[in-house]
């Protein structure tokens, strides 16, 4: 009986100590960290073959970019990650990216998610998280 009470007490305390549960359903729908890594790598491979925008990535450290994008997508999807990269404005400064460039990248991401078999609603949720960033990315 005493054991049961202390168990309940411990459970109760543990529950109190927890943060309100974060919605990580998108993170799970994207296949968690491994799935997001495959999506990001697929997108970068698509970009490498994309004559519309590949020139913007010529002098970029692709492995670092991959790691930062995985962090960013993970955070946006509600996953247990921390974004350690530069702000969107900083990282795109001087690139003068156009609206068309942004859309080309979206298409390369969509193709990567299709290749990973990400369900359409999950794709749309990630795009809805990324779309508001356009203003911080283009025409800088």
């Amino acid at each position: 009986m005493r054991l049961l009470i202390s168990l309940l007490l411990a459970l109760g305390l543990a529950a109190c100590a927890q943060q309100p549960p974060k919605d990580d359903s998108l993170y799970r729908d994207l296949g968690e960290r491994e799935g997001i890594t495959r999506i990001v790598e697929g997108m970068l491979i698509n970009i490498a073959k994309d004559p519309r925008i590949v020139e913007h990535f010529v002098n970029v450290d692709i492995e670092r970019l991959r790691d930062k994008l995985v962090e960013q997508f993970c955070v946006e999807a509600g996953g247990p990650c921390t974004y350690t990269g530069a702000t969107m404005e900083e990282s795109h400064k001087g690139q003068k990216l156009t609206r068309s460039d942004f859309n080309a990248l979206v298409e390369d991401l969509q193709d990567a998610m299709d290749a990973e078999g990400v369900p359409q609603p999950a794709q749309n949720r990630l795009l809805a998280r990324l779309a508001p960033m356009r203003g911080q990315v283009i025409e800088k």
Partner: protein
């Protein structure tokens, strides 16, 4: 010789490749819409606020299309095209030919078709279909010239050409329909066109323009497939027959940025005394 030839082939190949790449630049798939029966980019029976083709800032876009609506008693054939620049301004043209079929036989009319030309101009005022805070809002005008005015004149139409204006707002809500993308369009038209203008403009019952509501809602199951409904209010200017509002349900297929196909089932109600004009709608569009 061989080297020169190879270099030339390579150069040409690169040129073609870069031209192809440019052609696929711009906006996202399906955001150029299909071609409405008036020639402006949009749905089927109403325009959207989007501009023809896939051009973004500094780029051209355009399309060409053919459409047929078949109700059994009547047939409407439309052909036309549109060009746009900078995702800002659109010019469109459509030729409509309305085949009176049954009616021409029953009434022994002198001609069995009614045709008109429609010249359209659409300007995006502000907003963006997907990205900005505000929905995309466009203002359009259409100048219409009815080509066979004998029958329209006989049934009370007042003039064979007229200009009408419309304002349209469009927004794509990402994940807005149970996780699928939701496209919502609404518009107001200021017009006195009888049956699009095929029966002339203004009439013996009413000769002033009316404010007419139109709109559509579509769900995109993926970037290539859309299913939706449309509605278009129409005026009622002629005494000889009632004019019904139009509605349809449609399926749109956008396999790539150069082709779209729209199939619809349209309820067109009463047209020139013949009621219950339901029928099939098919539109095929090429675009860039």
């Amino acid at each position: 010789m061989n080297t020169t030839f190879s270099a030339l082939t390579l150069g040409l190949g690169l040129t073609v490749a870069s031209a192809a790449a440019l052609a696929d630049n711009g906006r996202l798939l399906a955001t150029g819409g299909a071609s409405s029966i008036n020639g402006a980019a949009g749905g089927g029976i109403t325009p959207w606020a989007v501009l023809a083709g896939y051009g973004e800032q500094g780029e051209w876009g355009g399309n060409a299309f053919v459409t047929r609506v078949e109700t059994g008693d009547y047939r409407l054939d439309v052909a036309g095209g549109a060009v746009s620049y900078g995702n800002r301004i659109e010019l469109s043209y459509a030729r409509q030919r309305f085949d009176l079929g049954t009616l021409a036989r029953d009434l022994s009319l002198p001609g069995n078709t009614l045709s008109q030309d429609i010249f359209g101009l659409k300007v995006r005022l502000f907003g963006d279909l997907i990205y900005d805070q505000l929905p995309q809002v466009s203002l359009g005008i259409e100048h219409k010239r009815q080509k066979d005015f004998f029958v329209p004149n006989a049934v009370g139409a007042k003039r064979d050409e007229d200009t009408e204006g419309y304002i349209a707002a469009s927004r794509l809500f990402l994940g807005g329909a149970f996780g699928y993308n939701l496209l919502v369009n609404g518009g107001l038209r200021y017009s006195r066109a009888n049956e699009l203008g095929l029966l002339g403009f203004g009439g013996d019952r009413r000769d002033t323009r009316s404010v007419l509501k139109e709109g559509s809602v579509a769900v995109l199951f993926n970037p290539r497939w859309a299913v939706g409904v449309e509605y278009r209010e129409k005026p009622d200017n002629l005494n000889f027959a009632g004019e019904s509002d139009w509605a349809d349900v449609f399926v749109g297929y956008f396999p790539n940025k150069h082709l779209s196909i729209v199939l619809a089932y349209a309820r067109l109600g009463e047209i020139a005394t013949l009621d219950n004009q339901d029928g099939a709608y098919l539109s095929i569009q090429g675009s860039f």
